[in-house]
Symmetry: C2
Subunit: 133 residues, 2 copies
């Protein structure tokens, strides 16, 4: 699929969307969809330039073919509750067709370049990888 | 939308899907889509019965109208890396059309019932709420 089509796919509206099907009937060939959610804590959380640079770096990852969806976020202003962690600065939610595709992404030159270019910006990163229960 | 249609929507295939559009052009009326990702650590992680009960409880939340997408997961078998936290037992990824809808969900009787019925199962829960950067 050309990059433009994928960008349209990635930005299609909420009403028409579904993340990754949990039900067996919708499993992609080769495995079950994998949700990869990453949270970054910046060394300089007050720096808009650093935040923008990290976000721009994450945007380059859309070009990785195995990345089916990418959503770059910041903490939402939901109600304060003890269980809510809004201390992070930037989040990255990706969907892959399989565990194997996520591994291909980890080894992809664009991902390696992203880490080389941007890892100096964060002091902490936490990754959660999940598959359908 | 009748529940059956929503269930089809929620389980539609990966190729056709998109989570919540980040771009302004795809903002839902009333606000930007909100991603609500919750991780549960069971008191008895070895208990399949407890895990199944928690998953069944989470399934009841599909009936909450403002929940646009729900994906219930368990840790994936991705490569071991220091930054990957696979210590949790069950995850819940929801998408709402707005911050306000997430608040309606928090106050919804079905959500309150879920917490009353299932909170004894977990020892720890962490919530990340994010909106498009």
């Amino acid at each position: 699929m050309p990059p433009v089509d994928r960008r349209v796919l990635l930005s299609s509206g909420l009403a028409a969307g579904a993340l990754a099907a949990g039900e067996a009937a919708a499993e992609a060939p080769g495995g079950a969809p994998l949700i990869h959610h990453v949270f970054f804590w910046l060394k300089n959380p007050g720096s808009k330039a650093d935040r923008d640079q990290l976000i721009a770096g994450l945007e380059t990852l859309r070009a990785v073919e195995v990345v089916k969806q990418l959503h770059i976020g910041v903490p939402a202003s939901t109600e304060k509750r003890d269980v809510v962690d809004n201390s992070y600065d930037v989040s990255e939610l990706m969907v892959f067709a399989s565990v194997e595709d996520q591994k291909r992404y980890q080894d992809h030159p664009l991902h390696l370049k992203f880490v080389a270019d941007c890892s100096h910006l964060w002091r902490k990163v936490v990754v959660y990888d999940s598959i359908s229960a």
